[in-house]
Symmetry: C2
Subunit: 334 residues, 2 copies
């Protein structure tokens, strides 16, 4: 049983049809017939070997939705025909302090769906069922797929740092992650300010739940919010005027990075010390957080805005993501 | 009634005898006859105008202990003869979100004892009693004075970020702040690793409660603790290899800055994102935290190690602090 997929053979290479034999079906494994797979910016980083960690051939894809078509002997809670999703993580050590706390996403031996494993730009995937999640019936597969990585990445900080409804949240970047962050922060009952380098996204940002919209193309875009925001989620990959961003925070305010910035950030210590501010980083979320996130998305109608293209058009779709042209998430469909 | 004190008339100037008339006694004011005043590194920064914020003449001093000798009409809980202490803060707006939460130390209108006001290098001070704290009888005045600023600055993070006894705490810098941080972290029941640029401080650091001692003069001093510390308090004013420091943290670990570093810190975003680490800054502590800190110090025998000199020798004492020769806190005595 060969799995048919698309692989990059070298850094920045175009994706080409590829086949591989899956590992033997382990007790906790399930086979998923993939219907949809979102394209995350991390997939582009992996294809381009931006992190110098990619092994080729690389089969990207870690925002997977599909149907269970086979289960290992140890699998009790999944059955054939069920619709499930898989995100960035596909394995953990199950033994470290983080794992036994239910925070498998912080396991030092975390395994990624498409790093060292072949991912979701494929017709099928064999994966540890403990990192598969039932998709609530109200969510369309194409809108749900990007929640598995993009969604949990922006939901998890709101949960972990106990953001509360009377607070003001800033979202920097209205893209694949940011347009989901706005929706989750809105669902949290917060006042939401969106910052975007695309002034033409204002209408959509407001429809998604933003109360304020500030184009970062303006001079001093953070000036208007000085000392007004309690929590800022930064989804961008580009350098920002970080002291100005920190200055937009209230006392005890927190800047949460979910987008990996290429260059080191220059942080004056006083910008943190004087009013007990903090900078935190967030990587995806734990298994329970993913369940919660899907329930919340179902109840509040939170969904990724997607452009769905056939799997065979994978290269065009990747290019759109690479060049920031997706509005807001490209999703491949089999 | 003129207050006799020592003042710097210009940046880096020597302190000279000075006199001033205090403001009229306000309802909540008390007069304190100062017996002891610690010398904090901030006093040196103020004298030298390192922060470009100093107004001259400057009367430094914000680690004050003395005896109440007069009280305003609104003062109910202090009476003449009582021993009290005053730290960095001497005023707040009493109205902002932080103040009504009891976190007056984060009030945007915070007033400092020796910035815009004349401080404790003096025979007396008139000060808002709401920022004065009774000194527990078990604490000697000379050992207690440095707790009012140095002590609360390192105690407050342990409290605010809920450090727990099964955790491992790193303390960077074994000086005025660091030698207190070791004692408080030890009182919290934590495993404590001290990092110091003075290898000869090992014996004392261990006596204060450090379980491990690592000289930062070694090559890669943070190598031994990679992924082992849960909470690091950095008390130093010098540049560190911040990515290496962050690398010493466990998943979810926190680096807390209490020492203001002169240059912006270079922080790669991945060093925070991958394992949900954070960098926070801490300024002194609130009024309740100061009470708790004094109670804890009294119960656990936590005290500043001090070198006591007569107030008239203020310039020699300031020089010792300026050049890092204090072991560990210079205290002026009237």
């Amino acid at each position: 049983m060969a799995i048919k997929c698309y692989a990059a053979k070298k850094a920045k290479g175009r994706l080409e049809p590829f086949e591989y034999e899956p590992r033997p079906l382990a007790p906790f494994d399930i086979d998923i017939k993939i219907s949809h797979c979102g394209i995350c910016h991390s997939d582009v980083h992996l294809i381009d070997n931006d992190w110098q960690l990619t092994e080729y051939p690389l089969v990207p894809g870690h925002e997977i939705v599909g149907e269970v078509i086979d289960v290992g002997v140890g699998v009790k809670k999944f059955s054939n025909g069920q619709r499930v999703g898989v995100g960035w993580q596909c394995g953990a050590c199950w033994h470290c302090d983080m794992c036994i706390s239910g925070e498998h996403n912080l396991c030092p031996e975390i395994k990624a769906t498409c790093m060292g494993n072949h991912g979701g730009f494929a017709d099928m995937i064999r994966v540890d069922s403990r990192f598969a999640f039932p998709i609530p019936s109200k969510l369309e597969s194409e809108n749900a797929a990007p929640l598995l990585c993009g969604g949990i990445t922006v939901y998890n900080p709101l949960r972990t740092y106990s953001v509360r409804p009377y607070q003001k949240v800033g979202v920097i970047g209205v893209g694949g992650l940011g347009h989901l962050a706005i929706q989750f922060a809105h669902a949290y009952g917060c006042n939401v300010t969106a910052f975007s380098s695309s002034p033409d996204k204002e209408k959509e940002a407001r429809e998604l739940g933003a109360h304020e919209f500030i184009p970062t193309t303006e001079k001093d875009p953070f000036e208007k919010t000085v000392g007004k925001l309690d929590f800022i989620i930064s989804t961008v990959h580009v350098d920002m005027d970080w002291p100005a961003v920190l200055n937009a925070l209230n006392p005890k305010g927190m800047l949460c990075l979910v987008g990996a910035v290429a260059n080191p950030m220059m942080i004056p210590s006083f910008s943190l010390i004087l009013q007990q501010k903090s900078i935190v980083g967030n990587p995806i979320g734990g298994r329970m957080a993913i369940r919660e996130m899907l329930r919340l998305a179902s109840r509040h109608g939170i969904r990724a805005k997607t452009e769905v293209v056939p799997m065979k058009n994978v290269n065009e779709a990747v290019d759109k993501t690479r060049h920031g042209k997706a509005r807001y998430r490209m999703v491949l469909k089999n």
